[in-house]
């Protein structure tokens, strides 16, 4: 995973904010290297992460795939049919073309990293601008490890590349080692 960010998409409201979403939905956007992980694998995580077997209460909490090309559209539609067959239930997931993404406010981004102010401070010193901060692969990966994703062994192979101080590296390694026991 190269970058992740949360925001609002799928609607027509100009300049949405959390307090005024209009017709947008809360959304995660992922930038990835298809040589490392496929869109199908991302879809598997998507289907496995929630259970949209009832219509959404509101557009804000809708289940949706916003496809960026015809291949993504095909895979999403096929996956939806397969997932419905597996569950034996109708799935209320919109498969719609991507029309734009509005970055959510700072306080919605990188939640796991916010739990560890020492690490957040180090990375914000490198990336004081919000767009740069959420667009950083280093920030994305540290946030992911803190969220329980990735193994300690994998972290050990890339810890030197994440821009952390010696103390920051030790702290992250200690947290991940403790959480993976």
């Amino acid at each position: 995973m190269l970058r992740t960010r949360v925001g609002y998409a799928g609607g027509t409201t100009q300049n949405p904010t959390y307090g005024s979403l209009g017709d947008h939905s809360e959304t995660i956007q992922i930038e990835y290297d298809p040589a490392v992980i496929s869109y199908s694998a991302l879809l598997d995580v998507f289907w496995g992460s929630h259970r949209p077997t009832r219509p959404a209460w509101s557009r804000q909490y809708a289940s949706a795939v916003f496809y960026h090309n015809e291949e993504q559209k095909r895979l999403a539609l096929e996956g939806k049919v397969r997932h419905e067959a597996n569950l034996g239930q109708k799935i209320y997931t919109d498969i719609a073309p991507f029309t734009g993404f509005h970055l959510a406010e700072d306080y919605h981004q990188k939640h796991q990293l916010r739990r560890v102010p020492e690490l957040e401070r180090e990375l914000r010193a490198i990336y004081p601008e919000l767009g740069d901060f959420v667009g950083s692969t280093a920030v994305t990966r540290v946030n992911g490890y803190l969220g329980g994703y990735g193994t300690l062994e994998r972290l050990q192979t890339e810890i030197e590349d994440l821009g952390l101080s010696v103390a920051g590296r030790k702290l992250l390694l200690d947290i991940v080692a403790a959480s993976r026991r």
Binding site: I28, A35, A56, H68, I126, Y127, R141
Partner: protein, 31 residues
């Protein structure tokens, strides 16, 4: 590019300097 920007560029983590030949974007709403 001002001095502080230059310094921050130098501090960029190696993982953010790495060039990826192809990247793609996926966008999901998870209810």
């Amino acid at each position: 590019m001002n001095t502080s920007t230059t310094v921050r560029q130098a501090l960029k983590p190696p993982v953010d300097v790495a060039v990826h030949s192809q990247t793609q974007t996926a966008t999901f709403a998870l209810g």
